[in-house]
Symmetry: C2
Subunit: 382 residues, 2 copies
């Protein structure tokens, strides 16, 4: 018997799971440990640009670049300041100019290494530089792994509003290296938990349970700025949560790549969340706003005789500990609710739950229903 | 017998011709007189943004906006300074911000009214605002009618080079109103004649003849800045030239919407042209550079034993009277030639003619062939 050959390629990550997004052309979301170190196996272009923020670059970028260069690739680096402020026209201009100055050609590829901001910004740069070059999403936050990195929505902000300019540009591959989550502050882990919970509510009840069982203990009671306790997040279970979340999103995206129909289901909790974010001048984070929005949607649904998940969702959200519900009255939120794309002719459109795993779009929510659900939300969450 | 009903819709323009571009979804290029005045019949959205440059807005924009408003549409206006300088990131930012500030929604439409600069800029804004809203191209130059407005290539420039950022975004309809050509300076008409001649050489020998018979008399010997003599450009013949040119371009675009193959044929004359433009710091206009480039391609082809159209092309180009061939030596052009996307591994790629109407891509043009053809071009064109 001869010795087994040294393992190479995907075999280096025996714990990895792959979810295929069946758009045209299809692409893989690979979830596992050690994926950045072995990225060269899944990135085919010889010339690459790694776009990252300064924080993520310091933590994971140098290692990624060294690994790629070690595999014979040429690597151009573009870093931007961390934070939503980098999703602006000026930073977008800096990124595409850096790609041009570095001579990246149509046969090159862009690697977006970071959270949702970097994914959106670098994705939009890749979508438009030379009218589109291949893009790889390498999300380093739980939120980006389960949401922004999958589905091809890229965007930057204008002073007039968030995500007003962008493109649909599907990545060539998504590499979700769960090792990067070890450096994630608890607060950022909570942002991701919000989307995992949402994803569970619309498409996989097991993810609601996983949020309670796996994510909650790593988040509840811990100081927001500290890294999550690595011991609380075993790799195999993390991979499972991310891969299952990715599978739900992949299913929805494949049914509706350009967001003309069922992709709206992904907006469970987001109608109120967008209004809370905007009315607070983005002081409330997206994930925390979504957590409040999920409770709000649960109340709206229960009061209409749909699923009653208020107790379970509100209980879980409270223990996850988002920043408090801002002390607006509903009247001051109204303009931001009405501005939402989901508003139709006076009545409001919301995604609600017929039951866990069965979302439904209703577009006739009245002002009275809103007011009543808002009062209940205030009682529950303040 | 009852009276005939009053004519409406497309019947208002009995001289109009329609060319369909068979991409997915297909769209029409309508060529005729009076199309701006009746634009509301072919533009379906209720909320519209007209993007134009200040010159074109003064000549044709007010009338278009009034006609649209008279048909019950709401019209937002965005004007930019005339000239290539407006194809920059700052002006792009101004345009998308104006669309956002004006509250244009996904159910709105962008009308690009102007020459190639406006078409590229407004087309890119439409491609990216809200991740894409419908775009109508309303070209007001012969060059834009036969080239830029058709095919969905949109772009802006970076300081690092022209058209480095953009998107493929097919218009919903192209309205080429030949009435606008009456205000076109002779110099601009010549830019269009260059692309008509190129289009004829690659796909319709009748257009070479039409350039000689119809366009040349309106251009040759006339002062560059004055409007072309309207009497020299009968509407029916203009419509025929524009529609036939559009038909050739539509055929090529439909075969290759994302420029991965035969669309390269549209680059006849453009490899040298791009180098001349870049080396001259854009002092030489695109159309004039293309005219020199067409002679160069004719020489290269003849010297390889392909079609011999040097005498006919050079004779016609000289009479069209482009700005003179700059007094570079070939060595100073070389870096700009090598930078061209069409360069492959030391040898150069060029589109040449096997015969008129039968282009061929060769990718093994040697430095010696280039030097010889350049000397011939200098003899012919200086």
């Amino acid at each position: 018997m001869s010795a087994l050959p040294a393992s190479t390629g995907a075999a280096l990550a025996p714990d990895a799971r792959t979810v295929t997004v069946s758009v045209s052309p299809p692409y893989d979301v690979v979830v596992g440990p050690g994926l950045l170190a072995s990225a060269a196996e899944r990135v085919r272009e010889a010339r690459l640009a790694v776009v990252s923020d300064e924080t993520v670059w310091g933590l994971h970028g140098r290692g990624l670049a060294a690994a790629l260069e070690g595999a014979g690739r040429s690597v151009l680096t573009v870093t931007v300041p961390p934070g939503e402020g980098s999703k602006d026209l000026a930073t977008y201009g800096r990124v595409v100019r850096a790609l041009a100055a570095g001579g990246l050609g149509r046969d090159g590829g862009v690697l977006a290494l970071g959270g949702g901001v970097v994914g959106d910004l670098a994705g939009f740069a890749a979508a438009t530089y030379l009218r589109g070059v291949p893009c790889y999403q390498l999300p380093t936050t739980l939120l980006a792994m389960v949401d922004a990195a999958i589905g091809g929505k890229t965007a930057i902000d204008l002073p007039e509003g968030k995500n007003l300019v962008g493109a649909f540009w599907q990545p060539r591959t998504v590499l979700a290296d769960v090792d990067t989550l070890a450096t994630l502050p608890v607060r950022e882990l909570r942002q991701g938990a919000a989307e995992v919970l949402k994803t569970g509510l619309i498409g996989d009840p097991g993810l609601v349970e996983a949020t309670e069982r796996l994510l909650l203990p790593a988040i509840a009671g811990a100081p927001s700025a500290s890294p999550a306790d690595p011991g609380a997040l075993p790799v195999a279970e993390l991979v499972d949560v991310v891969a299952r979340s990715a599978a739900v999103k992949a299913r929805v995206v494949a049914e509706d790549p350009h967001e003309s129909g069922v992709r709206a289901h992904l907006n469970l909790g987001h109608t109120l969340a967008h209004a809370l974010e905007a009315a607070s001048g983005l002081a409330l984070s997206h994930g925390d706003a979504v957590l409040h929005g999920l409770v709000f949607a649960a109340v709206l649904g229960r009061d209409r005789g749909l699923a009653d998940v208020v107790e379970r969702v509100a209980g879980l959200v409270k223990r996850l500990g988002p920043d408090p519900l801002p002390t607006f009255d509903l009247a001051s939120l109204a303009p931001f609710l009405a501005r939402d794309k989901k508003a139709v002719a006076g009545r409001m459109r919301f995604v609600l739950l017929e039951e866990v795993g069965r979302p439904v779009v209703v577009d006739d929510v009245t002002a009275d229903e809103l007011a009543s659900a808002w009062r209940t939300l205030e009682e529950l969450m303040r």
